[in-house]
């Protein structure tokens, strides 16, 4: 494509682009403002995948979401992976590029999962340097997403919000705020998700994720296999009450339902945004 990236509309709600929906999306052109592409599922350079992605891009803005930069890892940056990201940026002109505050591989081991690391000043220096390198190489700002975790390190010197704020200050990166992850962490670790949101550099949030978790009774798993829970909708409303307008995404990665279900969740998010913006305007 090699054109200008189309921005994501403020206060809009996109959905994740999933392969089983693409044919319908291309045939029916549903009224979705944008789609998020999970980059790691679309790296093929030949065949159906790039053809379909180019066709979707003709009609919709895209956001490129990555899981393999391993920003918190200590292996050297995976340059072939970043080359692929760069190629995808060149080909599809995504409005935003994002990855997670985690590590995904170490030594020769690839985990295909988003693993946490301790929030220390040493980690901050290290991750800041890697984000700088990534942004320099890609020639663009990236968004960094908070992840859901099932453990916390004794040695952490700051909390996640403080760590992310420092990253923004040092690197100029943006934030992808995953409200479901914040809620899962609140439930699993017993700290306040509202306080987490309060302490985040909210003015630098350029995208918000909403997703469903799996309830294991004693703890929650960030499974992205369900509708957004009432508790997460409430937390979303809390985030919105301060007048924020970053584009929002409905994420659904496992047991993926029909496109209508995703669009239905997006419509619900859109209604909440609308209601919230009316309230904010009234009391401004």
């Amino acid at each position: 494509m090699n054109g200008q990236p189309a921005g994501l509309p403020q206060n809009s709600v996109g959905v994740g682009l999933r392969s089983l929906h693409i044919e319908r999306i291309l045939n029916e052109k549903p009224d979705a403002p944008w789609f998020e592409v999970l980059m790691d599922n679309h790296t093929a350079q030949g065949g159906l995948i790039p053809r379909q992605l180019a066709a979707v891009r003709e009609h919709y803005p895209l956001s490129l979401h990555c899981v393999g930069m391993s920003l918190g890892g200590v292996n050297p940056l995976d340059m072939p992976y970043l080359e692929t990201v760069k190629r995808m940026i060149h080909a599809y002109c995504p409005a935003q590029i994002s990855d997670h505050l985690c590590f995904t591989h170490h030594g020769s081991h690839h985990f295909n999962d988003l693993l946490p690391f301790p929030f220390t000043s040493e980690s901050l220096n290290h991750v800041s340097g890697r984000i700088d390198q990534v942004q320099d190489y890609l020639g663009t700002r990236i968004l960094v997403e908070n992840v859901s975790t099932y453990l916390q390190f004794q040695g952490s010197e700051m909390n996640e919000a403080e760590f992310m704020k420092a990253l923004v200050d040092r690197t100029g990166c943006g934030i992808l705020l995953d409200i479901n992850n914040a809620y899962v962490n609140q439930f699993n670790h017993g700290y306040s998700a509202k306080a987490f949101i309060d302490n985040m550099p909210i003015e630098h949030v350029s995208e918000v994720h909403l997703a469903g978790f799996e309830d294991k009774t004693d703890y929650l798993i960030d499974a992205h296999n369900n509708r957004v829970s009432n508790a997460v909708w409430e937390l979303f409303e809390y985030y919105l009450q301060f007048g924020h307008s970053a584009p929002v995404l409905i994420e659904w990665d496992s047991d993926i339902p029909g496109l209508d279900v995703l669009l239905d969740e997006a419509a619900r998010a859109q209604q909440i945004i609308l209601r919230s913006s009316e309230t904010v305007t009234r009391y401004a």
Binding site: N112, L115, T120, E122
Partner: protein, 269 residues
């Protein structure tokens, strides 16, 4: 790799996740806080399940016919065994588990899979090649003018195979087994390969896996065609292929080019 406290944490975390049996968390667990709901030991178990679960899902996607034949429970058990043994994984799960076929062979040799499943390693190999063909790069169009020029000028010519081409020789009626067990097989190309073609191959069955445009297909081929492609794949020159294989080149080569198994000439041999 940097040598720091962070690196040490990540190394211990990695050891705790990949140890088999999972006894590697003794050094790591003390570094973790006891949160209100999840003990360090449970946390590591959750991460082990997550990482393994993701890979098992990848195996299910790549090997649907093997799963259908083994049944869900047996396949899950086999897949779990594979991902536990394979602690390295892959950065890109679209290219994960090429060695699953060999793992099935090991299970057969150890009598952990019944002899009835002796064909499964070959079937798994076929499924991996089919999956890889879907993700393969597109090919360029055969340049006949360049080919003619090189041949006429007496240059050594090395042919280029399609990036999506996979080859498989099996003593089992693999094509038939695959057709019956590959879900969602509805492309006209696959269905057009009638079964009598398979029956005609009485000894070794030669199969090609190839993606012409968007969807891969599996096609039985003659031993001559297979051996020509195999020789090209082993980097023999065109002349060497012709010398080695006793076949009518005026029939075999045009067919292999027309089917886009051979897509051009290599420049740097």
């Amino acid at each position: 790799m940097m040598s720091t406290v962070l690196a040490q944490h990540l190394s211990e975390f990695t050891r705790a996740l990949t140890a088999n049996p999972p006894d590697g968390d003794d050094g790591f667990a003390p570094r973790l806080m006891n949160s209100s709901r999840i003990s360090p030991r449970l946390a590591l178990e959750i991460y082990r399940n997550n990482t393994r679960g993701t890979r098992i899902k990848a195996l299910e996607m790549i090997y649907p016919a093997c799963k259908r034949i083994l049944g869900n429970d047996t396949f899950q058990a086999v897949a779990r065994g594979y991902v536990i043994e394979d602690t390295v994984g892959a950065a890109d799960l679209n290219h994960y588990a090429e060695t699953f076929s060999q793992y099935l062979g090991v299970l057969l040799d150890a009598d952990r899979l019944a002899d009835d499943y002796a064909y499964l390693p070959d079937l798994a190999s076929l499924e991996f090649k089919f999956h890889a063909a879907y993700y393969a790069d597109s090919d360029s169009v055969f340049d006949f003018e360049l080919f003619e020029h090189k041949v006429k000028s007496g240059e050594q010519v090395y042919l280029q195979l399609s990036a999506s081409l996979g080859m498989l020789a099996s003593r089992y009626p693999l094509y038939k087994i695959w057709l019956h067990n590959h879900p969602g097989l509805d492309t006209a190309k696959n269905k057009s390969n009638s079964e009598h073609e398979v029956e005609a191959i009485t000894a070794i069955q030669y199969l090609l896996i190839h993606r012409d445009e968007y969807i891969p297909a599996v096609s039985p081929v003659s031993d001559h065609e297979y051996r020509v492609l195999e020789a090209i794949d082993r980097k023999h020159s065109l002349q060497a292929v012709i010398n080695r294989i006793d076949c009518d080149i005026n029939v075999v080569f045009p067919k292999l080019i027309a089917n886009k198994y051979i897509v051009g000439i290599k420049h740097n041999e």
